[in-house]
Structures are given as C-alpha cells and as structure tokens.
C-alpha cells in the first residue's frame, strides 16, 4: 500500500526578488513499512521534500498524497489534523518541549488526539519502555543526554501509532554511539510495528541502515535504489 505518493512536485521559495527552486519536479512513491533514507548534499532539497511529505509545507506545483489523500491544497487546520495521528516527527535538534518531562512529552500527541485515562498512561509507559527510558520518565529534557532526548522524540513520534514517521537528520547532533543507538531503535521499531520511516541524512554511517536510499541533487531525484538493503549488523 502506498503511504506516500508524490507527483511532479516543485517548490519555489521567494526571498525578496530572488526565487530559489528547492524542488524541481520530484515524483516518488513510498510503500507501507519502508525504511527509506533521503540523502544528498546540503541544499539538495531533502528537508523540503520531508516537510512536503509531513504536511508542514505545500508544493508550488504538483501533488502530494498521504494514505491516498491529496494533501497539496489543505489549509492550516486541515494539515494540522492530517499530521496529528498520521505522521510522527523526529528532528535534528532534540525537539522536545523543555518544560515537560520525558513522560509528558510523549503524552502530548495523545492528548491532542483526545486519548484519555488509563489507556494513555499505559501507552506512554510502554513507549518509554520500548526506547529504553522507563527510568528517565520524569526527567526534563535538560536532565537527559542528547541520545536519550532523541529516543524520547522517537517515542513521541510513535505515540499515536502513525502510519508514517519522518526524521530529519536524526543523528546529526549525536556522537557515534548515541547515533547508532538511535538508528537501531528506529530499525527495531520499524520491524516490530511496521510503521513507515523516512529519514533525511547525509551521514554515511546512517545511510547503511536504510533499506532504500533516495538520492537528491539540486532539487531532483538523482538515484532511487529501491530494494537495496544494508545489513545493520555490518557497520
């Protein structure tokens, strides 16, 4: 089943009179359960494409379908509705709310979808357990290491059982060991839950975890190595 379908998408940014073409006609299909890396040098359009898939941004031209629904022309609130419950995000900076504990950060998306009571508490506990942070549940982000914070972010991304998780350079601010741990967690959860992962990276150590690598260059897909799969045990 196609989770993401992108048809000839362009995205032009205007800064004053200067137009920058971030995407120049990208078409891409991502199937359910994939573990896909978007790679390419800085400025190749990885982040823009990820934002397009994540309903954070809208294409200048072309169409984006998520779970078969055209999301290219949704308004702000409709896009927020789409993101909530369908798409989970993991960012390069450890995007947690600093005033909330690990537990409360994971709980936040569940509150937004109106998940209440025992069910919610059990879900949060189970998620923190699955990323190995049960004992850190009541710590605030500033009391957690970078790796721990990123694992909380992964737990949060999974909270509402979304069909798609998008990660933008998830290991860029982590050392090798923590980066490895984060990628292993993502791989394991992908296999255990079947949730689709798409992540942008230019770190070769991360790319090898991907089962599919989509290479972008100057806003176009340069290579699409579907089916190619690295063995996570090999690094």
């Amino acid at each position: 089943m196609e989770v993401v379908k992108i048809e000839n998408v362009t995205r032009i940014f205007k800064t004053g009179k200067i137009e920058t073409q971030a995407l120049r006609g990208v078409s891409l299909t991502i199937e359910s359960g994939e573990f896909t890396a978007l790679v390419g040098p800085s400025g190749s359009g990885k982040t823009t494409l990820l934002q397009m898939i994540g309903c954070l941004d809208q294409p200048t031209n072309g169409k984006v379908y998520i779970n078969g629904k055209d999301v290219s022309r949704l308004n702000r609130n409709q896009r927020a509705d789409m993101r909530r419950g369908t798409i989970g995000f993991i960012f390069q900076f450890f995007a947690l709310i600093p005033t909330l504990s690990a537990y409360e950060n994971v709980e936040m998306p569940l509150l937004l979808v109106g998940n209440h009571g025992t069910e919610r508490r059990e879900r949060v506990t189970q998620l923190l357990e699955s990323v190995g942070l049960s004992d850190r549940a009541h710590h605030r982000p500033d009391q957690l290491s970078g790796g721990e914070q990123q694992r909380v972010a992964i737990a949060r991304a999974l909270a509402t059982k979304p069909t798609l998780i998008l990660a933008d350079e998830p290991t860029a601010n982590l050392d090798t060991t923590n980066g490895q741990q984060v990628m292993e967690t993502m791989t394991r959860l992908n296999q255990e839950t079947g949730v689709t992962f798409v992540f942008a990276t230019h770190d070769p150590r991360v790319i090898k975890y991907a089962r599919r690598v989509v290479t972008l260059r100057d806003g176009l897909i340069d290579a699409n190595s579907k089916g190619e799969m690295a063995d996570p045990g090999e690094h």
């Binding site: 954070l56 909530r84 989970g88 900076f93 947690l96 709310i97 005033t99 936040m108």
Partner: protein, 405 residues
Amino acid sequence: MIQIFKMAFRDLGRNRRRSFFSALALAMGLALLLLFAAFIHGNMNTAIDLAIRLQSGHLQVRAESYDESKTSLKWEDLVENPQQVAAQIAALAPVKAATPRLFATGVIAVGDETAGVRIYGIDPLSEANAPYRDGLVSGEYLTADDREGIYIGQPLAEKLELRVGDQINLSANTSNGDVDEQPFTIRGIYTTGTYGFDSYTVLLPLAKAQTLTQTENHASTIFVLLNEREQVDEVANALQTGSYKAITWPEMNELTIQYEEMANSYMVFFYLIILAITATVIVNTLVMAVFEQTREIGILAAIGMKGRRIMAMFMAESTLLAVGGILMGLVLGILVVSYFAKTGFFIGDFGISGMLLANTIYPELTLDAAVNLTIIAFIITLLAGIYPAALAARMEPVEALRGGK
C-alpha cells in the same frame, strides 16, 4: 485544559524573574488605581461631611426671599423668632439638632491690617455647633451672653498675628444697608482642619451678632442636623410650608457633588493610562516569550497542535500573569489604603473655591471600586495577551521550526 495551564505555568516559571516583574507591574498598577479610587472617594466623602458639619447642615430653613449669595440682612429676608422656629423643628423625630444662624459679611481691622470675613452668629449652646467648640486651639469658646468676645479661625489669627485677648475692630453690614464698627476681644482661636473655612469665618454669639447687624430676633437660617442623611427629603417635605423654604444638603453642596462626578470621569482616563502602561509590559513579556519559544511552537504545530490551541496556551499565560498580578495588587493596594486610612494623607492647606477640603485625606476603598477595578485590570490584561497569542498561533510550522534552529 489542565495541560494547557500546566504548560503555561511552567513556561512562566522558565523566566521567573521576568514573569514576576510583569505580574508586579500589574500589581503596582492595580494598587495605584485602588489607592487613587480610595483617595478620591475619601476626599469627597470628607468634603461633603465637612460641608454638612460646618456649613450647610443636612437642611436649612430660610425665608422664601433669602438670597444666600447676597447675604441679605433685610428683615423680610430673614427668619423671625428663630429660637422658636428652631425649637419646633427640633421636635421632629428625625432631627438631631436645629439652631438659628445669622450670616453677615464684614472686615476685621487690626492696626493697618485688614481682612474680609464672614460672620456667623451662632447659639454657642447648640450641639450643632460642636465642631467649632471642639476645634478650640487656645483661649475659650463663646458663651451666649458674651458681648465683646469673638471666636476666630487659626489661619486668620496667624495672618493678622492675633492672640487670645487681643483687640480688633469688626465692621459689618447692617439690616438697613449701613456699616457698623465695634471693638471685640479675641476670646478663642479654633481650627476645624479646613483652611477654606477657618481662614475667613469668625463666630459671634447670636445675640451679639444680631445687635451688631441690627437684626433683632432674626436669623438668616435654621441650621438642621438629622440623625440620618437619607431622611433629608422626608424632613424637607414636612417643613416645606408657610413662608419658609427648606433647602437640602445635596442642593447646597451641588458643586462638591459635581466635582466628585467630574473627578470620577477624569479618573477613568487616568485608570486607562495606568492600565495601558501595564498592558504594554504584559504584551512585551509575552511577545518575548513567543519569540523565545518559536521552535517549540513549531514542534507543537508539527505534532498537530492547532493554532487555536497554541493561542489558548499563550492566553493561559496571560491569564496566570493576570491572576498573580491582581492578587498581589489587591494585597498591596489594600495594605497601602489601610495604612493611609489610619494615618491620613496630609495635603496641607489646600482649597478649591466654594468647596471645603480637609487638610488630611483619609482614603476609603469601597467594595464597588475594588471589584470594578479588579475586573477592568483582568480584562485589560487578557486583551493584552491576545496579540502575542495570535502571533504564536499564526506562525507557519516550517518557519517556526527553522526559526528555532
């Protein structure tokens, strides 16, 4: 909802000092408003009270033709057999005291110095004249049969450098339009704490004042004090018969009442200015908070929080600031008002012509004023929160995420 307030509370806790000072700005603004409202109310209440006690009474009974502004002494403009009329009025149940008074204008001369004065002929024995008796500073109070004594206010005595026992010449208008001059001895010096009254009013026993002005057995008015201020219309109606008219204290103190109304309407502008300043502080705090939290707003939007909810989060912050600031403001305001209510606020010899103002103001905070000002302060703070909250809610998630990087 609880989560929103929890987050708002913690957000404010992130920069405790800034949040505290913003709430403090609101607290001081509100405290200032409460103090001013209490000050004006206290001042006006005292002014009315003074005017009633010293000048107008609750009610006066005068001859139909008496014109106060001319201080007429013609017999036909005066009340005849005033003691008898006063006794009849005093017999009415709501009446506390009724006493005749004769008003005249005159000039005091001591050596080369002169001063224009208003002469009050009073019955020294009447309880209605207690404020003059109790205000004795030196010498002694008048007696009914004193033929040479005069009782003068302290500021006037100081101006003319007079002491008890000193001689003065007092000229006064008489009933037939002449001016008569007689020597008097300063019997006593008084103060009522009201410069506007004390500096120009001299008191004589009624009989002596009648002799001086050739108004035998007549008085300008019957000065009436009631047990309750509110009974005035009832008593006035009962007395509105025959050739005399009854004038009530609101009629006689119209200027003071109007002044209070005017002061109150001016105060609205003052309140708004204070609250606008406070609101600016709140807006500033929240706008800073929004900019600092840009990335977090992006994250919340990314995980599907709608603009409405983001707005609610920042509105919750302004609500918490408002509640904190208002509680502090009420405590601060009530403390300051209570302090001045006890010690009084000395404004010195200060007068507005036609009004009696005490030299010390005792602020009085009414529940009405406290409730109204609290509600206004709360609403204005919430209104101030709208702009920063809308700013946060309008942020595009992509830009907000980028902005925080």
